[in-house]
């Protein structure tokens, strides 16, 4: 090939490679589910309080994995359910968390995590009743947990009754559900704290911990503390 032809071929090949790499990076590496912002308008470390609302569903019909269980977070500004597990809170603030449990029960692997830890008072409200632990093996009681290991927070999520018909399309807006409420204080310094579910609800994966349990936006996420 002549010199100009070689130069042009080289340039085209180079641009194609750069474009391909950029596509990969932008679409697959830098992609994250959206972060719901609960810190807007609240001054960190000033004794404030925020209310965070989440729900967990037996499926999520809004993603490419419709039969994966999933959490949803309510956007405080719009009141709509966002399919994500990332949220932002101000530092040094009391968080009153409400989690609606639409999903049914699954036996937990380590019943140590039936115990409520890290909340204010060491308790949580299960459908209004104060509990310090919920036994996942003695009945169809626990569907998931909400655990932030970095602040030693662990709250099991109660379930609707064993015979209830679980809600269909998600995010669920009606149907039988359990309501868990609890409060905790966010740390005083900024940081990112991951949270996860401890119940093996990843159906079809070994030990129940694959799939949605290890995919951001479904059963595990980040709590970003900003100051």
């Amino acid at each position: 090939m002549s010199l100009p032809a070689r130069v042009i071929t080289l340039l085209v090949a180079f641009l194609a490679v750069v474009a391909g790499a950029a596509f990969l990076v932008i679409h697959y590496f830098l992609y994250t589910p959206p972060t719901v912002d609960y810190s807007a308008g609240v001054t960190p470390n000033s004794g404030g309080t925020i209310n965070v609302v989440m729900q967990e569903d037996p499926q999520n019909t809004v993603s490419s994995h419709p039969d994966w269980v999933s959490y949803f977070i309510k956007d405080p500004k719009t009141g709509r359910w966002v399919h994500t597990t990332l949220f932002k809170v101000p530092a040094g603030t009391r968080v009153n968390m409400t989690i609606l449990g639409y999903d049914g029960c699954t036996p937990i692997r380590n019943p140590y995590f039936d115990k409520v830890t890290g909340t204010i008072g060491g308790t949580a409200q299960f459908n209004g009743k104060t509990v310090t632990q919920i036994n996942a093996w003695s009945g169809c009681n626990v569907g998931h947990t909400f655990s932030i290991p970095g602040i030693n927070l662990n709250v099991p999520m109660g379930t609707p009754s064993l015979t209830a018909t679980l809600c269909g399309p998600s995010p669920c807006t009606s149907g039988p559900h359990a309501t868990m409420t609890f409060s905790f204080n966010t740390p005083k310094t900024a940081g990112t704290y991951f949270w996860q579910c401890r119940v093996p609800c990843g159906g079809g994966f070994i030990d129940g911990f694959g799939g949605p349990m290890q995919t951001l936006g479904f059963m595990t996420g980040n709590m970003q503390v900003v100051s």
Binding site: Q133, G139, P149
Partner: protein
């Protein structure tokens, strides 16, 4: 190539210089200085520190190996440095070097010296691992350990690895389970490391303990803490998404503080200990005998996540 009759490599060549002697004289002070620095200056600060007997033995081990490695490295580097300076091809010189194919004496000496160094390191390592009082150097020894601390039953601490947190059970205190690792100083500890799902690794850095957590297997490691302080525990085997965040801090306290903590925690956690499976060195969370009848009738027999459905026969 058979080693042809080469000129004696230690005698002076026509340039009048005894290269071997020069190299030796440059190497000797460097090696001595390096060894002294390593042993006396750097030695007390070598990882992993001195907080337990296993950590101390590892520190000594690393010190000895560094002392042996430094002269070897210095020797090779000094030789190459000398060669690159003295034997570079001068401008305008296009000739070849002397046709030395080999030298039986040098070859034999090299093989002998390297074999001696390496074998003595192997013997030393075995001593550090297996001699009385070394407790297996803090490494996980599997379900049937052979290098155990002398004198009485060690404090039993079960380390349960699960995605993505370590929990610790103390069978001698009612089998309570906690996420805090608290150990008494001066007391031999037996870590029984197991996992509930995938392979993790319990690495207590300052204690010099590392043991893989395999599902269904009890991996035993021993140590005896000798100083109080903070222990960093990290998971050292990639175990999924949050492996990088799977760490916690433990502490070594006095025996009195430990006893107080253990008794208090045992009482505080009694209600949750009651619903835990009985203490065992290994667990199979896919088979839960305590499961309520209602759940079993609904097809839920254990925490197995429906990978192998309940109607699959259990293999022997």
């Amino acid at each position: 190539m058979a080693a042809s009759a080469a000129p004696s490599v230690r005698s002076a060549d026509s340039g009048g210089r005894n290269h071997g002697l020069w190299i030796f004289l440059i190497w000797l002070p460097i090696a001595l200085a390096a060894d002294l620095l390593i042993y006396f200056v750097w030695g007390p600060h070598l990882p992993p520190g001195t907080m337990s007997n296993t950590a101390q033995s590892q520190q000594f081990d690393i010190k000895v190996m560094a002392v042996m490695a430094a002269p070897v490295m210095a020797g090779v580097l000094v030789y190459f440095g000398y060669a690159l300076v003295v034997w570079r091809q001068r401008d305008g010189d296009d000739s070849d070097g002397p046709a030395i194919h080999g030298h039986a004496g040098i070859q034999a000496a090299w093989i002998t010296v390297t074999s001696v160094i390496v074998l003595s390191l192997a013997v030393f390592g075995t001593y550090e691992l297996a001699w009385k009082g070394m407790d297996g150097a803090g490494a996980g020894q599997g379900p049937s350990p052979i290098w155990k601390p002398a004198g009485g039953t060690p404090l039993q601490v079960q380390v349960i690895g699960q995605q993505w947190r370590f929990t610790y059970r103390y069978p001698q205190f009612g089998g309570f389970e906690t996420t805090d690792l608290v150990l008494p100083v001066g007391q031999a500890v037996q870590f029984n490391v197991t996992s509930l799902d995938v392979i993790h690794d319990f690495w207590a850095y300052q204690l010099g303990v590392k043991a893989d957590a395999n599902p269904g297997v009890n991996n035993v490691a021993y140590t005896t803490p000798t100083h109080t302080g903070v222990v960093t525990v990290r998971c050292d085997e990639l175990c999924g998404l949050w492996h990088g965040a799977m760490f916690n801090y433990g502490k070594v306290v006095t025996m009195a503080q430990f006893q107080a903590w253990a008794n208090k925690t045992e009482t505080q956690l009694a209600s949750i200990t009651a619903i835990l499976p009985p203490y065992s060195t290994v667990y199979d969370p896919t088979v839960v005998p305590q499961m309520s009848k209602a759940m079993q009738k609904g097809g839920l027999t254990g925490g197995n996540g429906y990978y192998y459905p309940p109607n699959d026969p259990v293999q022997p």
